[in-house]
Assembly symmetry: C2
Homo-oligomer: 454 residues x 2
Amino acid sequence: MKSRKITLSEKEIPNHWYNIVADMPNKPLPPLHPGTKEPIGPEALAPLFPMELIMQEVSAEKWIEIPEEVRDVYTMWRPTPMFRAHGLEKALDTPAKIYYKYEGVSPSGSHKPNTAVAQAYYNMKEGVKRITTETGAGQWGSALSFACNHFGIECEVYMVKISYHHKPYRKLMMNTWGANVYASPSDRTEAGRKILASDPDSPGSLGIAISEAVELAAQDPDTKYSLGSVLNHVLLHQTVLGQEALAQMEKAGDMPDVVVAPFGGGSNFAGIAFPFLRLNLEEGRSIRCVASEPASCPKLTRGVFRYDFGDTVGMTPLLPMYTLGHNFVPAPIHAGGLRYHGAGVVVSQLLKDNLIEAVSHDNLEVFDAGVQFARAEGIIPAPEATHAVATVIQEANRCKLEGKSETILLNLCGHGNFDMKAYEDYFAGNLVKHEVTSEEIEASLAELDTPIPG
Amino acid sequence: MKSRKITLSEKEIPNHWYNIVADMPNKPLPPLHPGTKEPIGPEALAPLFPMELIMQEVSAEKWIEIPEEVRDVYTMWRPTPMFRAHGLEKALDTPAKIYYKYEGVSPSGSHKPNTAVAQAYYNMKEGVKRITTETGAGQWGSALSFACNHFGIECEVYMVKISYHHKPYRKLMMNTWGANVYASPSDRTEAGRKILASDPDSPGSLGIAISEAVELAAQDPDTKYSLGSVLNHVLLHQTVLGQEALAQMEKAGDMPDVVVAPFGGGSNFAGIAFPFLRLNLEEGRSIRCVASEPASCPKLTRGVFRYDFGDTVGMTPLLPMYTLGHNFVPAPIHAGGLRYHGAGVVVSQLLKDNLIEAVSHDNLEVFDAGVQFARAEGIIPAPEATHAVATVIQEANRCKLEGKSETILLNLCGHGNFDMKAYEDYFAGNLVKHEVTSEEIEASLAELDTPIPG
């Protein structure tokens, strides 16, 4: 019997999150005030986030302790398993060794609860009564609903309208955990009403939903806001998964040559990659860390490095990031997730410094990969995850061509149980291959009048 | 940090299935030929099943070795985790200790692959090209699709029509693993056409779908049939989960006073209960094993012990079972699963001998329990599993009343990710409480002209 699953015990859940900022050769540039365009300090974030999360956001400490109460909730699904992908290796007839870390065993079925639980915990500690947030494909909204339910906090989710209508079961999952879910743009906020006035049929976007959630939090002292990716503290929390993966690779007596993860705002990628990048930065290793993004929303491979807003309306601080422009609305194809216009600050700086790599795949390529994975490994990947699967297959095929037995590690960030509509479209031949055009990207970027870094 | 998860290593996956027939004080009565009503031998089953499974069906060996190739596939998700339900205990304020074995981590999200993989393996070994089967809620059909895909066998699933239309994503999951799925009754079989002729709007039933699948297998030497519960060999394969649970309870330094599982045809219940019943039979322990069934399909609590057909049309052998009559069609409510008219032979005999217990719950009670569990433990249970959750809550409340700190073990057989429509109906107040009436049961049983055992 070939060994397939590499498990850890509860005691091996990491005690600390890893903050890569401490090890970065070039530190991230400061955020700017959306009005004055001057650098802002942590206090500017106080209306939106509890103080402990703001301190994490600006921290340069290398290790940040995970509170006992958070680790206790993590035991509901952590440590997550790692698998050797014997089935996929065989299907690809590759000399590469493929491993995947599987985060789909969490309550909401993805890696998102790793930070949702931490965020809800710090909000609870500081007496916050309600948290607002946005969600696209629904992975983040359901994770935060779960976490808020656990700590007795009200949760209000603004769900991108097209996704709200395509994924009623994601919404129901949030309802099951007691959250209120609204289709965005909604008429509940000024931001939403403004969008609806100019485009009553707007399919919504993450940027718009963020504007709505931020507006509500800014108005009410009992309400805070929560983001599921992009920000430093969110990326930080996700390193719990990569640290486990590192321990599991060591347990398997192996070490990746390539680490691959889907890329939306950066938390998924950071989660698995940063603990391995630490080895590069500390010990001079050369583990390749590859971010996989959709060709329909390719900020890393085709965006610009520029200060930009986190939301569409322009309420958030300006962040130095790879971006397609905050007015960019990705085509309403069903790839699900990974549809944010910008990349997290830390990941952007790492890419700028050539410490990580990025690739993109179109929507047909990723579903080809997803179905191949499901048949070979028995897990139907979330559409987000299929992007990384496509990269893994590409790397494994390269290994075959080059006759190299490299080790590839994949972050299989979630299952596709709530995304079968997308698979249905794929099987029915209704998925039209989509890549954003250069004209569309140029048009979106042309609207930017935000500062150019350095 | 309280310990919550009790895990086993791959090496602790059991090497043998446990065959309770060896230990039963009263052995099951023989099956009868559907025409002659005379006892039949194993050879009568040869058109439908590969010989190895038939040998298991009639075996009195206490331990049957699990083939290496089957254990190898099991490593894709086994050993499954066991959890201490700290959250539910707290929510119920009970002195009882509650544990649950979680089978939702399997590829198709339930315990069903435990036998699907074994059945597909033995069929593959004997050169079978195609397997037909039925599915109700879809758990079984997706498990067999997964298993057939793994061993390169074609899979043809007859899915109860109402479920086919209510659960398109279950169907898509089967398609993802390459299976062909048809709404039953279909016009592809004589059995289906006969039903459609008398009732064109038939919502279908498991009994009807079995008739269709059996008819096709009986006609073609390259095609065999596979059943997801009821039969001895199916119950046998599921004991892999109960044996793990026993090892996990020992690892936790505890032992259940009560073991609770949902009850449809018996494999779910047998899987967790038989290895604990072994301790009762071998060592005179008195672990209570409780089967939870829906009030809309209550064969154990309100059916009769009688010879009956396994299917609606009357093609299968007659089996001695607790039954509501093979023409019983449960009301088309969305409880999902557990809707078979009869109980497996071995479980029926155990109930008749008072070695196990049975209770029933109505559909509102089980969704109340399911939502309470989701909020306390973070896992949204499959509707099937909610029945056992309702029983566990009942037992935990009894412990509170009696001031007893008993240990309760639950088989949380699957997640509800594909069943959110049922939760939607529950939240929307559209679930009408349903229990079958005595008149309905009497009418169904009055049609039976099958032999009365003993």
